[in-house]
Symmetry: C2
Subunit: 455 residues, 2 copies
């Protein structure tokens, strides 16, 4: 019996395949649709780069979105961003619930009780909820951004940037219709906060937001409601990382890129740097001119990224939280990591550990190849290394920040960044699972065990 091509694919292969298809369609569109840009024709490689960056909501650019593309071109990119973003958030949310992994959470969230039986989940309804919620937030964001842009851009000029940035911010895409991203609005008391809220909300994940909503309602209605362990870890880690980043960035850049700003703007921009590093990718300072401490801290935050089931990339807040819990439990001599009176299952911890190892390995290899191909041999150009390390982490975390080397990447360099963006977006474990050869009922055998000494 022959199965159809799509039916033979495993869920990871379907997910990776659909992303690949969207990128290829985007590339084709950028090359063939008329009137998307003016000036020199876009090469196939750059079209692929731009489409990958848009679909993977990364924001690294080899051509300037603001000047190279027409409004139609920008709209096409925005469409790719919206489809990529929606694809990620619906797919992961549905998958999380479908895998039964989050049944406990959904149960608690929907019934506010601890019934053991698996509830019926309407996946179409869930997907519709996610899409509706996305559009609602983006519309509200666009409206507020319109008010923020109004004084400077006028009632006609503020419209397109407001729509574009609302979607780009909520999808954590980092594309901008301004050549210098948001540097021109670094003292704007409306634009920056609105963008920050959109980024953070887009990076928390639908299920956590749903729980937060139910939690608020339960307080109003004086009912008992317990936030799931997942949401607690997401929220705590997010707040901690944002806070730590804020303090350090203000400290590191006080006399550098923030020197010219008044105190409130210093604090606002420091917070923005902390928010944007967690996979948004807008910038209000020039990272090429920032201190090396700032850039290294940004690399670390980009590595962590946002939360599962959201628009954000990186290895995710829960992964880091679980690794910390694991370390604490081991130091205490406990067998199982636990927090807030709940234990974390063994397979979950193993998945977190595995993700961390694979991510570090991919990044070590990616940075090394990039360093080898991009930096000119035999010439010591101090500081280049950090730029390419930054670029690799930014691509893998689908962040989109850059110290300015993206447009000058070699052909090999562009391919590596494209690959890193793609692997980072679909997740290295999902990517690996999609590559896995499915064994068709062959009897698994294994060799005799033999010990190896470690460490």
């Amino acid at each position: 019996r022959r199965e159809s091509f799509w039916r033979r694919l495993s869920p990871p292969q379907l997910f990776v395949g659909s992303f690949l298809l969207l990128i290829l369609l985007g590339t084709l569109g950028l090359k063939t649709l008329p009137g998307l840009y003016t000036g020199a024709p876009l090469s196939w490689l750059d079209a692929l780069f731009t489409a990958t960056s848009a679909v993977c909501v990364t924001g690294l650019i080899v051509v300037d979105t603001a000047t190279y593309f027409t409004v139609w071109g920008q709209a096409f990119i925005l469409l790719l961003i919206q489809l990529g973003g929606l694809g990620i958030i619906t797919f992961t949310t549905v998958l999380i619930v479908a895998l039964g992994r989050r049944l406990s959470l959904r149960q608690q969230a929907l019934a506010a009780s601890a019934v053991e039986a698996a509830p019926h989940v309407d996946y179409r309804q869930l997907a519709r909820d996610v899409v509706r919620f996305t559009f609602l937030i983006e519309a509200a964001g666009a409206l507020l951004l319109y008010l923020g842009f109004l004084p400077e851009l006028g009632w006609r000029g503020a419209f397109w940037p407001a729509v574009f940035h609302a979607i780009s911010a909520f999808c954590n895409a980092g594309f901008s219709t301004f050549s210098d991203s948001l540097v021109g609005f670094r003292t704007n008391p409306v634009v920056l906060p609105v963008i920050m809220v959109l980024i953070v909300v887009g990076g928390l994940g639908f299920l956590t937001l749903e729980e937060l909503y139910l939690w608020r309602r339960s307080i109003r209605e004086r009912r008992r409601f317990r936030l799931s362990l997942h949401s607690r870890l997401v929220l705590t880690t997010t707040v901690l990382l944002l806070g730590v980043g804020w303090v350090f960035f203000v400290f590191f850049e006080w006399k550098a890129t923030l020197a010219a700003l008044p105190l409130p703007a210093k604090l606002l921009n420091g917070l923005f740097m902390s928010v944007t590093a967690r996979t948004a990718g807008f910038n209000t300072i020039d990272y090429g001119a920032a201190t090396e401490q700032t850039n290294f801290l940004t690399i670390l935050l980009m590595f962590v990224g946002g939360s599962p089931g959201s628009m954000a990339g990186g290895i995710k807040t829960t992964t880091i939280a679980l690794l910390v819990l694991l370390a604490i439990s081991r130091l205490r001599g406990q067998e199982v990591p636990s927090c807030w009176s709940r234990s974390v299952p063994h397979e979950v911890v193993q998945r977190a550990v595995g993700l961390f190892v694979v991510a570090v390995a991919v990044l070590m290899l990616g940075s090394f190849v990039l360093t080898a191909t991009e930096i000119e041999h035999g010439v010591t150009a101090p500081g280049s290394f950090l730029k390419y390390l930054f670029e690799a982490y930014s691509a893998f975390g689908t962040v989109g920040l850059s110290m300015g080397v993206t447009p000058s990447l070699s052909t090999t360099g562009r391919w590596i960044i494209i690959l890193l963006m793609f692997i980072g977006r679909v997740g290295p474990l999902t990517f690996a699972a999609a590559l896995t050869i499915r064994r068709h009922r062959t009897r698994q055998f294994r060799y005799a065990y033999e010990d190896v000494v470690v460490g």
Copy 2:
């Protein structure tokens, strides 16, 4: 019933404690013994730094071993190196055998058969073997080095450097009696090869060497002998890493630090760079003047380090080999990693994964603190970042190479490097185990499980 202090300690605590004691005695000796150095008095912190670097066979120095210390001072440092090196190699070898982990290997090695019953192991004899073997190799090395140094230093001048470098090289310590390490001997066809052999042999581990010896004898006697999985992984990984490093280093430095050398010396020094990065720490080029690619590759090799049960540091060759095997098995859809018709037990793989995660976490944190404390705020000094990243990896891998920032480290920086050297030497997992609070027969309970989404 009160137990004595020492008896209450767990084996990891005993191991970590004895190293700590040796370092403290070394520090005290450097401060109080007369005639060890000339010139400005050594501060307590610098004495601690030097003692830690010597006992942990690292080789990072805040004062120049060649000019600051008298021959007596150098001899005292050499004593610390020898004690530290012997401590590591005997303790780990005995522990490996005692834990029963390597019984299969010892069995094969000693009986050349596959008897299932655990053989009787004479630990005192084993320890004596290790010590005897060490002195034998060092004596042979010193003799050969004496011949190598003879033409340039004369029959009296060559003696002390030969002894010092033989011990320092075999212990992978990296201390040198020359201010510029081995840069002055970069074209010497005897000194460099001898040092390289000493380093590699010192970094393979006693049990692998013992097996190699038995393997050679079995070939001569035409008996069957199977190298253990452990030794195969150690040897394969070592050869691969040395080869890959060799090719890349020659390529990266061809027009840079190796430019002035003739072809054979280019090749020899490229190989030396590959060998020394694996925790030896001697240098024949100025790493501060090398290309950034070279320095990043050196960082990656320093991270891997040598093999278990040897003088070398790093996360060890077997750890990397197991992670690669794990990745391959997962991509093939196999449950258990295997190689050469042998499967690797689950706990061993888990230990490798855990070690990798902890090492990366320690290094990320250590590099960040170092970057934050050492690089001047508000000033963009391109290239500083790489220097401190290099320094952190060098300390943790107990390598001892430096891009030249060690003597100018701040007080905080010195403490961080001391800590990294110590944790790297005893191993982060052993260090953590030593910190673990032992639970005295309290009933372990655990909370209800709750799921968390990862990735």
